[in-house]
């Protein structure tokens, strides 16, 4: 008691002056991060996600900047270089105009001249003079099954000239002795030869290899136009087609998911928020839509939008995907909304007088944004796959519009002889799908803590 009285008396007046605030009561050691900043930091730490992000940037550059740099028209046909593999020999030699040939007689089976794309001249010893010969040509070596290839002609003379659609490649020619009925015998000879690409002066002038005034000597070598990734079966530049095809594939790949996820979000959040019988009915309808046969409705939309054969089917394809693929997102968002609806902050908001619209737009949608973003990322590769699948079976983008899927469709026909026509578009589809799948994984890890490390 006495102690307290004593202390009370020793207080001076300035002891009651307010203290200057020179120290924070609570200090925040690190800058505060919003949800998105935090997610971005986590995404940046993920090496695979970062690589995929760069891949996506690269693809976008390829699509939009590519055609500016590589200004080759994807519809122009280079008829001299059909189905050229990348890095193939482009040289061409000048030859004289074609002159008819009647054989010179020979004691053995051989080429009378160096085989060229102008003509291949064969002659042989007359080993079957009574019934004659059949001449075959094939680009493949003749195996035990004796596949001689294309029968070119039947002749009684011991010589033959082939001028049928010759390409600068390896051919195997077979001269087969035939019997009285014209059937094959066991008496045949095969020869292998590489056909050289040649061009006459007139053709060279019309292709712009030689100026009209110039008169270069026979045997001069020229080079045809360069195609870095080769050409397709009509001689169109693969790189240019891939760049233009990327527009179609990526347009559908981005736009279709964007639209159907948007519809799914609206539908799902409405159902989830209203709940009860309406919710049940809406979700049952979504179940029905899931069960509809995609292919049939795809064609239906194609016809309804009056897309005839030959027109590109991009819009009907987009429409079909949007109409048929929204239910998955709707279901997901509905689940999220149902969960969030029970959260404390929603009740608190309601208690403070928040309207339904405000609650949905301000609290529920932003809180499901992470899930929605991940869905979109995973929807992109699946949309690209769908486009490729539909174009592959001939129900999607119609020629001549290039898309990666339709290029695969064309490439698969010549897969055995010219694999590059299938490999390049397939590679681009795979890389794109891979990039978006990895990005989706990374985003899911970054945005949704609960989903992390689930792989």
């Amino acid at each position: 008691m006495t102690n307290a009285e004593q202390t009370a008396t020793t207080f001076s007046a300035d002891a009651f002056a307010p203290l200057a605030q020179d120290q924070d009561v609570q200090s925040i050691s690190r800058p505060s991060l919003s949800y998105w900043q935090d997610a971005w930091l986590r995404l940046r730490a993920n090496r695979r996600a970062l690589i995929s992000l760069w891949l996506v940037v690269g693809l976008l550059l390829f699509t939009f900047l590519g055609p500016v740099i590589w200004q080759i028209d994807p519809t122009i046909q280079d008829v001299e270089q059909i189905s050229q593999a990348p890095g193939a020999n482009r040289s061409v030699t000048l030859v004289a105009e074609y002159e008819p040939w009647q054989g010179q007689g020979s004691s053995r089976f051989a080429f009378a001249e160096t085989p060229t794309t102008q003509s291949v001249r064969l002659q042989w010893e007359n080993f079957n003079p009574s019934y004659g010969y059949r001449v075959y040509r094939t680009p493949y070596s003749i195996g035990p099954e004796r596949a001689f290839g294309l029968p070119l002609a039947e002749t009684l003379d011991p010589f033959f000239e082939d001028r049928l659609d010759l390409r600068p490649m390896n051919y195997y020619y077979t001269v087969m002795a035939i019997d009285a009925d014209g059937a094959n015998t066991n008496n045949y000879h095969t020869i292998e030869g590489t056909v050289a690409r040649v061009i006459t002066l007139e053709d060279a002038r019309s292709r712009g290899l030689v100026t009209t005034q110039a008169n270069p000597p026979i045997g001069t070598k020229y080079e045809f136009a360069w195609h870095p990734l080769g050409t397709d079966y009509l001689g169109r530049d693969m790189l240019a087609r891939l760049m233009h095809g990327a527009r179609v594939s990526l347009f559908i790949g981005f736009f279709a998911p964007f639209l159907y996820v948007l519809i799914g979000v609206i539908y799902g959040s409405t159902a989830g928020f209203i709940g009860g019988v309406t919710d049940q009915a809406m979700m049952r309808f979504a179940d029905f839509v899931v069960a509809l046969p995609f292919l049939l409705f795809m064609i239906l939309f194609k016809v309804m939008t009056n897309t005839g054969p030959g027109e590109s089917g991009i819009i009907p394809m987009l429409f079909a995907m949007v109409v048929l693929l929204w239910p998955a997102t709707a279901r997901l968002v509905r689940g999220q909304i149902l969960q969030i609806r029970e959260e404390g902050y929603i009740s608190a908001g309601r208690l403070l007088g928040a309207k339904t619209n405000y609650l949905v737009l301000r609290h529920m949608i932003p809180n499901t944004m992470g899930v929605i973003l991940v869905t979109v990322t995973f929807a992109v590769p699946s949309a690209i796959f769908t486009e490729a699948f539909l174009s592959f079976i001939g129900m999607g983008v119609a020629p001549p519009t290039p898309s990666w899927g339709s290029m695969c469709n064309e490439g698969i026909k010549t897969m055995l002889t010219h694999p590059h026509e299938l490999i390049f578009p397939a590679l681009f589809i795979s890389i794109t799908v891979l990039a978006f799948n990895m990005l989706g994984d990374g985003l899911r890890d970054a945005l949704d803590a609960r989903m992390r490390n689930r792989e």
Partner: protein, 310 residues
């Protein structure tokens, strides 16, 4: 359980009816009909044919007739193939598609569970890295490319061996089935491997595994009895939707490997607007998928007693 199954079956029936109705009216909204073909018909022949097939009646009447026949299980006669009932077409070609699909699912499930378990066992070590790399490839490469490459490697294999080791296409013997079903099941296998891996990793850190370890049960036994069995559950759930994915993927494999399955008929019928075949195959496929999903749900409830079916 029984009442749940009944309820689901009823819902399934309604779904099938919805599919049938939507397809019917959708199909009739497409301009032209099966008679608009390559051959130009005279007015009179056309009229007679329309009367014969009932195409002169209003669409709603045709719909009524269709529903009545459907209830009797009669799917009608094909417009483009002579004297073939749609029921016969399905009966002849569906077993082929089903065999292919079942084999593909079988390969996918076995492969997915095995690889997934293996990656979890060797987590972050070389086998895990290699398998997960292959899985990413399997998910990223489109099915038609896989099919084409599969066929190409078959050709090369036969070339190298000098004889026909495995047939390149067609259908008939067991040897014809191996490569197409592997190709068809590949992307599903990749997906299931991923799922199995994550499910295994989750279970490794669960309480009952820790208890089993504490009791001194050998690691191999924990792996097979406790981890594997529990980790398979989520894999079974996605098998239902996987069947749907495998049926659509089946079209491509059937076309590339020249397999006489139902998928090829469906694509062909859609292009020719063969009303009865389209309706028949659509309703059949729709019903098949719907009931597969129900079946998987029921099996799931039976395997995992914790799931209460209601």
């Amino acid at each position: 359980m029984a009442s749940y199954a009944l309820k689901r079956l009823l819902q399934g029936l309604i779904t099938v009816w919805f599919i049938a109705t939507a397809t019917f009216f959708g199909m009739h909204a497409v301009p032209g009909d099966p008679l608009t073909g390559d051959k130009a018909l005279t007015e009179k022949i056309r009229e007679n044919l329309e009367v014969k097939y009932g195409l002169n009646q209003p669409v709603i009447t045709q719909y009524g007739i269709f529903l009545k026949n459907l209830a009797k299980g009669d799917l009608g006669i094909s417009f483009t193939q002579e004297n073939r009932r749609v029921n016969d077409i399905i009966a002849e070609h569906f077993p082929v598609s089903a065999t292919l699909g079942v084999l593909a699912i079988f390969f996918a499930a076995i492969g997915g569970i095995l690889w997934g378990a293996l990656t979890a066992l060797y987590r972050n070590r070389l086998p895990d890295t290699i398998i997960m790399l292959l899985v990413i490839l399997g998910i990223s490469v489109p099915s038609f490319v896989v099919a084409a490459v599969g066929q190409l490697s078959l050709v090369n294999l036969n070339d190298m061996a000098g004889t026909s080791v495995l047939p390149v296409g067609g259908w008939g013997t067991v040897w014809h089935m191996i490569v197409p079903s592997l190709v068809l099941g590949l992307s599903t296998m990749a997906y299931l491997t991923r799922l199995m891996r994550s499910s295994m990793l989750e279970i490794v850190s669960s309480d009952f595994v820790r208890t089993a370890k504490a009791k001194g049960i050998p690691a191999a036994q924990i792996f097979t009895r406790h981890q594997l069995r529990n980790a398979i559950l989520p894999v079974i759930t996605v098998l239902g939707p996987s069947i749907a994915a495998i049926t659509t993927g089946g079209f491509v494999v059937e076309i590339i490997f020249a397999i006489p399955g139902l998928g090829r008929y469906f694509v062909q019928a859609v292009q020719q607007l063969d009303y009865t075949v389209i309706m028949g195959t659509t309703v059949f496929y729709g019903a098949f998928l719907v009931f597969m999903v129900i079946l998987v749900d029921l099996i799931y409830g039976w395997i995992d007693p914790r799931v209460r079916l209601e």
